[in-house]
């Protein structure tokens, strides 16, 4: 990597959300049906809201997250991985707050993508009692065409 300039110093940047995120029951129903299932009748939300709620509720848009890494969203960021750990079921109608930060931004060479930065960020969903409902760590590849 000696021949490549270092990636932007983004590690540690806060992704705490400024507003709560509430899973709307009607949206949850629409989402479930779009994937071929009916929504649960017990007030629990589809677990994929782990990803949606943290992404929407974090302190930056996806474009803003990319910009924090000096990357233009139009250059095509790619999701490469996501790990989630659930402590509580997600419920519709419950306000959640997002806490998180960028874990790392690492520059690499890839045979498939050329030069890219691997962005890893951790987000947690916290309920109004301060209890963590879930935590996730997502990884994106940011292709650096200008360095290829």
């Amino acid at each position: 990597m000696e021949d490549l300039p270092p990636p932007p110093d983004a590690a540690g940047l806060s992704l705490d959300g400024s507003e709560t995120y509430t899973i709307d029951p009607a949206e949850n129903a629409r989402l479930c049906r779009s994937t071929g299932v009916e929504p649960a009748a017990d007030g629990t939300a589809h677990p994929i809201y782990y990803y949606i709620a943290t992404q929407v509720g974090m302190g930056k848009t996806v474009a803003g997250l990319c910009a924090a890494c000096d990357f233009d969203i139009d250059d095509g960021p790619m999701m490469v991985g996501s790990q989630a750990s659930f402590t509580h079921l997600l419920r519709v109608g419950t306000p959640y707050r997002v806490r998180g930060s960028i874990v790392s931004l690492t520059r690499k060479r890839s045979r498939k993508l050329g030069v890219m930065d691997l962005l890893e960020y951790r987000l947690a969903l916290v309920d109004e009692n301060g209890e963590e409902a879930l935590a996730c760590t997502n990884t994106w590849a940011l292709p650096r065409k200008e360095l290829a």
Binding site: E27, R30, L31, S34, T35, G36, V37, H46, P47, I48, Y50, Y51, I52, Q55, V56, T61, V62, I73, G76, M78, M79, V80, G81, S82, Q83, A84, S85, F86, T87, H88, L89
Partner: protein
Amino acid sequence: MKVGDPLPTFTHDRVSPDAMRDWATFLRDDNPIHLDPAAVAALGLGDRVINQGPANLAYVINMLHTAFPSGTITALSTRFLGNVRAEDSVIAGGTITSLNADEAACDFELRVVDGEPALAGTATIALNQQVS
């Protein structure tokens, strides 16, 4: 049910561009590769819009719910391997890798029918409602 058993598959026929527009709203993400075939072509990624990765993972979660109807997912680890495009049909499946009275673990995969894998990973499911 025992270690090595395959999980019942979940099939989603013909991924819809209209659903991708809905998911763009759910995710507050208007990335044109999910909305505009011309944008997909401009990036050299084909001529059909590309499904959102979380939507692909949702099909896998539906498979897990069908396989463990009274269980609760406690952990997911996912690698996104390829694209699912408009009008593709996909099939989610998996295999049990460990099992005891309280918990099951499995590998999973989502594959385009007659095509490549779109994602793969592992899941842990609590079998006795330990998660509230």
